[in-house]
Structure formats: C-alpha cells, structure tokens
Symmetry: C2
C-alpha cells in the first residue's frame, strides 16, 4: 500500500469514528512499507482457521479483531503457541465466549504463524505537540515501563540517526551477541526503523500515535508482530512546521539609539522606577524618553504624556504598563514607525482565561505591523557592547558583566539575572529573558545570535519550546553553519501519567525523552542543571574543545577526583591511560609519596611547581585530551605562584584546562584570579566534570563540521 | 536439610575443589529451608527420564548437571518445554553430544516439571567485603543487567526490611496486578525472601555468592526454578563482625590540654610550620610543645629534641614526620603515658607495598598500647569548643567556624576544609578528617559524637567503609537511641565489571547498591553529591523536621520552582494541594496577576509583605509540611524587610522553612543575613530540594523513635 492509499484508508476509518485501525489492516499498511509481518489471515470460524494453519504450519497465534480494543493482551484477546487443530478450536470457542459479554465487538479472528525466538523491541510513532511526527525506539515489549530504555528522534530520520538510536538504548546488547548467542540481523532492523520513519512522515496529521510492539528481531529478519495505529480525532493534512526564523528589526531590540519607557515611575521600589534608573543613571548612552501620567521629571529627564509627543525617532518601546493597554500602544507604534517593543509586564497567558485572548490580539497586531516584540512577562534583554538593558534589577543589586563571548537566552528571568552575575569575570555578549514569547521566539533569538560577531557560545534555559521544528532548524544552522555551540538546560521534565496514554509510545510522548532526542539529533549540548549550564558554557567560552574523551586529573586532595570518576560512566568519559614516559617523568621529580599515575595526587605537600610539572607531562601525553586540576587552596604548601603557572601553560596548551576548588573567601579569591587569566574554576566535582563533558562533546561535533 | 547438615555438605564440596554446588543439591538445601522447588529428579538415561516425566506430567525441563558449569543457559545446558517422550529423548541425545566435546564434565541430567507462568525475580546472597552476608532482590531473570532494578540489605533481615525491598524495586508492579492481571502471592514471596536471608546467615563463610534466578512468583506460590551456590575458596567459620565502637581516650584527640607537635618546622610553607602556626598563633589555648631537630624556637616557643624532654604531661602527639618513625614514637608515647596521636603524614597504605606492612605495624602497636590514633594521611580534627586544631591550612586561608551543632567526619581532607568554611555562619561542633583509619574508624567517631552534647547533626563523606557492620551498629545507636540524624555522601560508586563476576548477584556486590541498602536499613540519610550533603546538613541543623511530604513554594521568579518539581518524583515529595481557604486568603490580598495556588508566584512585583502573607497562609494549611521560598533578590520590589519577616515567622513556625537564591554579591549578602537569623539559604534548586528531602525523611524516621 503506498502513501495515498494509506492516507485514504486512515481517513476512512477516522470518518467512521474508529479509534484504531484494525490490526490486520495496520499490518497491510506496514507491509506496504516493506516491513515484514507474520504470515496471517483474518478468519471467521475455527474451520477456516484450521485450514489456514495447515497451509502455513503450527504453532499459531490467535488474536481478536476489533477497532475498539486498545490493549488486546489485557482483555485476553491474544492466545499464543497453539500447536494443533484441537488447541486452535478450543481457543476459538473461548475467545468467542469472552467477547460475547463485552461491549467491544469481536469483528473476527486474526490467525498468524507464531514467530521464532528473537529480541523484542518497541518502535513507535507519535504526533508530538512541539515537534510533530517523532519516532521512538525502546527495549522489551510489555516490559517497556519497567525498563524505560527508550530514545526518540524527530522525523524524518537518516540511517545515522537510526544507528545512534540503537547505540543509545541499553537493549542494544540483545542485538550484538547477547550472552554468547549469535548476533541478530541488525541491518534489517535499521531498515525497518527507516521504513517506519517514512510511514510516520507520510501519515502525518492522521495519527495520534502508533506502536509496533513487539518488533521482533531474529538472526534472519525483523518482523512486526503487532501494529497498533491510534488515529487522530480528525483527519488533517500533514502539519509539519516549515517556519523559518525571522530576525528582521531585532537590532532595534538590542541596540536601540532611542528608547521610550512607557510606565516610567518616580516612586522608588516600583518596577517602572527601577527600569528608569537602569536606563538613565548608568551605562546606557542612548536617548531615553520616560512616559507617564503626571508631569514630574524622571531622574531629571523630561516626562512625556504620550508616545506621539516625543521629539524625534524612537527605536524601541519598553512597556511596563498593564497588558490591556498594549494593543493601543502597538497601533501608535505602527503610526510612529517604532519597530520594536519590549514588554516587561506580566499578566498574560500565564493567568489563562481572557488574558490568553489578549495575548493573541497582541500577537496579531505585532505580525500585522511587523513590530518585533520580546515578552510579555520577562525581564528583557541586555547588550554588553552598547550597555543597553531595561532591567528592573537595579545596578546595586545586579552586576552587568563586561563584554564577553557568551550569550544567554532564558525562559526564566531568575536565571537571566543569575547568569549575568556568573559572567562577571568571563563577560557576556547578550542576554535575553523572553517570557511568554508572543513574537520573538527561541529560534529567532538563536538565529540572531548566530550572526552576532560578539557571540561565540550560546547558553539556553528552556521550560518548553514553541515551534520545536523551527528551533531545531535554527539550531542546526547555528551549530553546523556558524560553528557556534549551543548548551541547553531543559527544565519541566516531569513525565505525564502513563496510564492516561493510549499507546506505549504515547505514554512517553511530550516527555523530556522527546526533547532529548531532538536536541541530540541537532547537535545541541544538553545539561541537567542550571549549575552545569553555567559550567559547560564557561568552559566552551574560555577553552578549546577536546580532541577525545581521555581525562587527566591532578590534585593536592583526592576526594573530588573520586567523585568525578563516579560520573565518567554517565558521560562516556575515560581516565586517560598514561604513557610510561609520562609516569616516569613525574616519578623522577616527585617525592615517593606522590601518586604518579592518572589521577595524579601531589598530596597536601603539592606546590605550584608540582602542578606545573604534572601538567607539562600530561599535555605531552597523547592519551590525554583534557587537563583537570583540582586545588585545595587552603593547603599551605600550595603557593600563589599557581596563577602564573596556569597563565603560562594555558597560553601554550592545545588541550583544554579546567580547574576546580571549593572553600571560603581565600579559595574564592584564588578562583577569581585564575578565571581572570582565562581558565575556568568550577566549585563542585559535578560541574567540573560537566564542563569537561561539554568540551569533549563539542570536540566530537566539530570534527563533523 | 538443617544448618549443620548444610554446612557440612558445603564444606565437603569445597574440600573437593568444587566451584559450585550442583543444582539439584542446591535445591535440596533450599527446600530444607522451606522454599518451594519444582518437582524434579536427577537421572542418567532418557528411559529413566521418561518414567519420571510420566509420573509428574509434561511439559518438562531438562538441565545438565555439573559442578563446573556456571552459566548453563549459555552452554546450551538447559532445554525448556519438552512436551512428549519423543522430544525428551531427542534432547537427551543432543545434550550428551554437546557435552561430549566440552571440558566441563556432564555428571547427569536434572529433569524438572516445567513451571507455570508467573513473574520472574532474582534473589541473591553475597559475601560482601564490607558488610559480610547481604541479600539482593532484583527484577527479571536474564534481563537483570538491562533493568538494573535491584536492591540490597545486610543480613539478617526482618519482614519489614523485606517489604521495603519489594517496595523499592520497579518490578513490584508485576506483583500487585500487572496490566489488569490478578495479583500474585506476595505473602509467599516475602516468606521465601526471609528464608533465603536465613540461609545467607547460616551459610556465612562458606559461599562467595548465591543466585536464585529466577525465583518465580505465581498467583499461588513462590518457586525457586534455579539455585546456584558459588562456594568460597576455603571453608571458614561464620565471619560476621560483632565489633563494637571504642571511644576510649577519644577526648584526648579532641580536647587535649597539652599537645606535642612532632615535626614542627620554622620554614614557611612547610606543613610542620603551618600546623605550628595553627596551634600556637591563634585560638587554641592549650599548651604546645614543638619537637624538631635543631634548636630554633618555633613561633617563640621553646623547641624540644625529643618527646621525653617535655616537662609535664602531654595528652596528644601530632605527627608530621615520616611514617617510618611512627612505630618508635608509639613506643615512646606508651612509656610517657601519651594516649592519643594524630598522624597528618601520608605515605601509608595508599602507596601499597611495604607501606602496607608499616601501617599494620603502627596499628598493632596502637592496639597493644591502647593509644588512639587518627590518620595517617589526613588533615586531623577540629573542636569548635576549645578551638583545637592541628591543620596545615593556615587561618588566612581557611575559616574556623564558630561553635554550632554540626559535626562532620570525612575521608577526604579537601571536603573537611570546605565544610568548615561552609559552616562559617551556622557553626560546627567537631570535624574529623580521618584518612587511612589505622585505629579510630567511622564507627568510633560517630559513637563519640553520639554522646557529644555539642553535636546535633552528623554529616559524613565516605569513600569506603572499613568494618561496615560495626559502622551500621554504631549508626543505629546514634539515630535510634541518641536521636541524632546522620547524613552521608558515599563516593567511589563505580560498578566493578560485571563480566568478572561469577553470579548475577556477584556482579552487583561491592557496588553502591550494597551500601545504599545498608544505609537505608540503618536510618542513615543519603545524598548524591557534596553540595547536597552541605544543604541537607544545614537544613537539619537549623530547622525542625517535616511532618509529611507536602511541599509548598513561594517565589518572585518561577524558574527554580520548575526545576524543583522535576526532582519531586525522585524523592517522593509532593506539591501540597492547598485548602481553598488558603488560596482565597491569598487571592483576597494579592493583585490579579499573582498566581495564588501552590507553587505561589508573587511575580517580579513581590515584596516582603507578599512573602509574609503567603507564608502565613501556607503555615496554617494542613497539607503543607515544608515552606520553601525562592528569592530573586535582584528584583527591586523585593525589599530588605524580608530578613525581619523571616526572623519573625521562623520563630513561631512549627513547619520548616527553607530558602533559595542565586546571584552575585548582593544576593550573597542577603543570603548571609537570612542564614544569620536561622533559616538556610541554598543557591541551587537541586540543593534546595535535597534539603527539603532530608527534613521529610528525618521526620519519617523520628516518628518511629
């Protein structure tokens, strides 16, 4: 069955109000896509069944046919391993009896030749709310919810994607010679996954989800033993987003020459006052026009009653007044040729109800007028080059970092504030807290940063994406064309209740698994906490990428190295196996009680010269790809010459150097001094390793650029 | 078969050089312990087999009998589902042929009635190097390495332990009505686990590990379908440690009146100089006697050539000289009546070889003389009450905290330093970095802290325990008798290679799983990073425990709350479902755009009064057990009155309050101010939740006290 016939067939079932396509029809569909199914036939009576069984051979499997049954197994609608006409007959009668009492009508019997022994996987398709059609691969038939050994990709998938998926699941060990058995037919498995992927694209708009469970992999072939197609409520044309990022006029948001502040206030503590302070009293050199009722000057600047009273051209309107006023303000902006707006005010769709409609109105006008909007419900943006920001976080409470190469886009203003302060030494290029994303979205922002010469690394905190496909397309452009890494922390991962979903795949749809697969597929580096996000970003900003996964460590206190090694497995990092000459070099210089293999322990007696010698040895060693120093600065023998040592070695080392230290004021002072010369210092073993991992992963991606 | 017969039988096999007990004998052993096994017989020929099969009924399972085969399945030594005399005969011949080419001798055939359908689990016993006999429960027969759904307990186990084990594995869903099926016979399963536990105790010293895999659970019974006993190389008497903690003379280590510093130095930067500085020039008011070659005064104090030259009584010898000198020094101490020694020097067993022997010598003399030793290879101990420490971390580099109620015992000096500085506001009671643990071990230390009136909470960083059972016994005493919580971070978790182990249970022996089970069983609260350790300890030190798992959150920035909720599942925490009157109270006072359900979002406009009102509402709400505030201190509307608000509410609230904030200098200043009034402020969402989790778990344990 080819695409058109398949779509027509699905549409017919949808129009009849069917929830699912009957199994034997589903199997015809996938057979049409070149996927093997068991020999089978739909029969009405046991006599017909026995005839068919004699043709294809016992043992057989008997299944109930119905367009209403979602979980046949639970309803006793499946009997396996029927070995004779007698057994077959008994099962026919039993199944008829069982279903005679049920509301689900029995529409016939599907009789199939029992499959040989093999490894069972689940492959599923899901119409994801953010990414559209996605494919899932998981291990283990009914045990999927115990194993939770699954991975997703956004469709379409390439052979490389499919191979990566197989490589990611633990169940791969079942394929490649499990417990001494011969390997299974992985090639046919890859082909089957690609074909199911094609079906997922071709059937877009017509299905909610599909389960091929189990997809049986034997030594000779891959067979779909079951196929469940859960239909969409209404048939739709394929709705796969083709949206492209739009960066028109975004310069006005980041580098405005003249800013109108609508809702400026003279009352200290008010948001409109704090923003006025940030714009007027500090580093921003553009023009500022406060707008508010009542004639008082704002920090010495003339106050305007209305946008149209402002003399000269305004680039950007910053809005702090109630959201209900925004539609009118947009009309005015359009008349006055103001092309960009930053809406700090909240009270939009996060409150639900009428406010959702209000935001839709704002969006409509923004699109109609071509006025670019960031917000509402955000803290706005920061440009380190022209020192523009409209933050209601006053300077006394929040550091504005110097110009650096890190950009941060964040759905959380809280992390926006924190991140800027984390960049006090490294510097930042831009920061955007984008809130409800009524116009400018994540994709637009990264597309803008892709061409921003100040930005080398993009960090991102995301709770949920708008148009996932648009974002992935933009991200691939940033990474593979502009060669800038994106590090992303996705929060809001809680799994939605599996019971509510109609398919196994559906139970995992909308979860972090889908996002994770999509990010991997697009070259985005993911992390699992905000602290890791900061660490990974700093490392990518300050250090070269790693040319392999060989980690070396040096410390005058072993504890954090022990912690770090605990995490190697999770990340696929390795303790570099040193060449004997590296070890000998250290042994010939160090006291007997130093430990001269990797990780190197220079003990509490370690000095800056000891670290220098160890680092020099490790940099020369071909097995080493990352040099990691942990410092116990509290230990008196470790002299402050370490800063100079690091500065010199960092300048000439082609391999990345990452440091770690934890402690009080003195440790923090030393850590700052080292960051100032360009080497990151992380303060937990977890973030130290997360930073290394980012450099290793980025190194791997760079090799493909 | 009862205990003596079982032990004699095992000893016979061991003396014959057998690796394993043959399966049918293993099954006789467990049948003797009251565990059901399939009907079976060992037969020599197919004729015998057919006779037996006719007696018990088909289908049958045929298994090879051998004392050499570890993994029958891989070697084709198992054939399932033989349904007729013909099939049985064929399999006999095939198996004979297969084994005729093998080095493993076929000693007979075990023929068993094929088991009915049920859920498969693995239960194992392991002779753990730290804890002695332990029991493992896991899900899923051969899939155990895919599922890794396992849990351990130290033997003996109570019914409560066994029920907790079942509750911890995901596979429990197979027992309690999986996918609509009737529930299985959990009662018989619990009994079988208890009986296997008894076997594990009775057979101690004779086995390396045992696998009961699968242990089949059906609707009617629990049956051990396979039983593999891997014997110890040499038969030993039960070696279950009965050691008790020894706190004799430990006061001399923590509260010495007079200290001899053996290896004092006048050279700045040397460890012996730094320690002299810490002892002489700062807060310690006891007497100090520097000992070193060469007559120079040390920081103005008279220097001695030898211990015996010191006038008057010495309580404690602090040793910084080479370890080789220590045996002699111990002899001298014994002669001089010095009962305690702190060995800072490294160069002991961590280097292997001869140094191991040297440490054994030191240990022998310590035991013989009754001299208590901390170290070697450590930074020593700190007592906040008398301000004693012998740290080579000078005051300029490391804060000594004020007196507080937190004690920290740590195998890592690095974390010892860091932890003291983390306690700069909360204070600490004692800290011990114990290094190689030649005498005083973890158990002695927590037993000492149990009766220390200054200590309320014990934090511990552990890489590996010495005598695990001694520690657990001491920990239970601390927790259940002295009612002090122990929070523990165990590092060094990397799994040892599963391939090397001879049993499935063995593959997980010595891993973190064993430690985790042991800690749970003993009421120890575990965490997964050093940062979490600090957070959990602070919370327990400063706040009351929680009377339930209902969490409430308030913030003027939602991001960290979203992160926090991601972690609720992992910890079993719940978002408290507020009473409608709590919501109404907030709604009647707050602006429309605040979100007045849990988590409460007072938005960027939130003031200290807003937090006060929300907290008051939540404290009154019966569903709420923990009040969690996240602050974006950078947001200008949040006034500094928040400190006073928290002080007042904290004084009267019976429910714990935990705060969080992340940012630069202003945020840190505010965080400090809040910690000073007794409310912890964590700086990541992860540690904020880890702190809450500790209070919830401690609350649960307290209810059992």
């Amino acid at each position: 069955m080819e695409k058109t016939a398949m779509r027509n067939l699905c549409k017919t079932y949808i129009s009849k109000g069917a929830t699912i396509v009957p199994e034997h029809v589903s199997k015809q569909i996938i057979e049409g896509y070149g996927i093997r199914i068991p020999e089978g036939a739909v029969v009405k009576t046991s006599e017909e069944g026995i005839k068919f069984a004699e043709k294809v051979g016992y043992p057989m499997v008997l299944k109930a046919v119905s367009t209403k049954i979602l979980h046949k197994m639970e309803l006793k609608g499946v009997v396996l391993n029927l070995r004779s006409p007698e057994e077959l007959k008994i099962s026919f009668v039993e199944m008829q009896n069982i279903f005679s009492d049920r509301k689900e009508k029995l529409e016939g019997f599907l009789l199939e030749k029992m499959a040989p022994v093999g490894a069972e996987f689940i492959v599923g398709l899901q119409n994801d709310p953010h990414f559209g059609p996605v494919v899932m691969l998981g291990t283990g038939g009914v045990f999927i919810h115990l194993l939770e050994d699954i991975t997703f990709r956004v469709l379409p998938v390439t052979q490389n994607d499919v191979e990566e998926m197989i490589g990611e699941i633990k169940g791969k060990i079942l394929i490649r010679g499990f417990r001494g058995r011969p390997p299974l037919d992985e090639k046919s498995f890859i082909q089957a996954l690609l074909k199911i992927g094609q079906l997922g694209i071709d059937a877009a708009g017509l299905y909610e989800s599909m389960d091929f469970n189990p997809l049986l992999l034997t030594r000779q072939e891959t067979v779909a033993l079951d196929a469940k197609i859960i239909l969409a409520k209404d048939a739709m044309e394929p709705s796969i987003s083709e949206e492209k990022p739009n960066i028109t006029n975004m310069d006005k948001l980041f580098a405005p020459q003249a800013v109108a502040l609508i809702g400026a206030s003279t009352t200290p503590g008010k948001i409109g006052n704090a923003i006025a302070d940030s714009l007027i009293n500090h580093q921003f050199e553009g023009q500022v026009f406060p707008i508010t009722r009542g004639g008082k000057k704002v920090f010495g600047l003339e106050n305007f009653e209305n946008l149209r009273d402002i003399p000269g051209k305004v680039d950007l309107a910053v809005v702090v007044v109630g959201l209900a006023l925004v539609p009118d303000i947009l009309d005015q902006c359009h008349q006055l040729g103001i092309a960009a707006m930053l809406i700090i005010s909240g009270g939009g769709k996060e409150l639900g109800g009428e406010q959702v409609v209000l935001e839709q109105d704002i969006q409509k006008r923004s699109r109609k007028y071509g006025i670019r909007i960031i917000g509402p419900n955000c803290i706005g943006c920061f440009n380190a080059r022209n020192r523009f920001d409209a933050f209601f976080q006053v300077y006394e409470r929040m550091i504005r970092p110097p110009l650096g190469n890190i950009a941060f886009i964040t759905q959380s203003g809280t992390y926006g504030c924190s991140f800027l302060e984390e960049c006090a030494i490294t510097g930042a290029s831009k920061m955007i807290s984008y809130g409800n994303r009524v116009d400018v979205d994540e994709a637009d922002m990264i597309a803008y940063l892709a061409q921003d010469p100040d930005t080398k690394v993009i960090a991102s905190y995301v709770e949920g994406l708008g148009d996932g496909r648009k974002f992935l397309r933009a991200a691939r452009d940033v990474i593979f064309k502009h060669k800038k890494p994106i590090v992303l922390y996705k929060s809001g991962r809680t799994k939605r209740s599996a019971e509510a979903a109609q398919s196994h795949t559906g139970a995992y749809g909308g979860t972090y698994g889908v996002y994770l697969g999509a990010f991997k597929q697009s070259g985005i580096l993911t992390v699992d906490s905000y602290a890791e996000l900061v660490a990974a970003t700093k490392a990518l900003s300050m250090q070269p990428s790693a040319q392999g996964q060989g980690i070396s460590m040096i410390s005058n206190g072993a504890g954090p190295m022990v912690n770090a090694i605990d995490m190697f497995g999770r990340y696929g990092l390795e303790i570099a196996e040193l060449e004997s000459y590296s070890i000998q070099e250290m042994e010939s210089h160090f006291p007997d009680f130093y430990i001269c293999k990797n990780p190197v322990d220079v003990t509490g007696s370690g000095t800056s010269d000891d670290y220098a010698l160890a680092m020099e040895s490790l940099i020369k060693d071909p097995a080493v790809h990352v040099i990691m120093n942990w410092f116990v600065f509290q230990d008196t023998p470790l002299d402050e010459g370490i800063v100079k040592v690091l500065e010199e070695i960092n300048q000439k080392s082609p391999k990345p150097i990452l440091c770690g230290a934890t402690g009080g004021p003195y440790t923090k002072k030393m850590s700052r001094a080292i960051e100032e010369i360009g080497v990151p210092v992380l303060n937990t073993a977890h973030t130290w390793i997360a930073a290394a991992n980012a450099l290793v992963r980025w190194g791997k991606i760079q090799k493909t650029l």
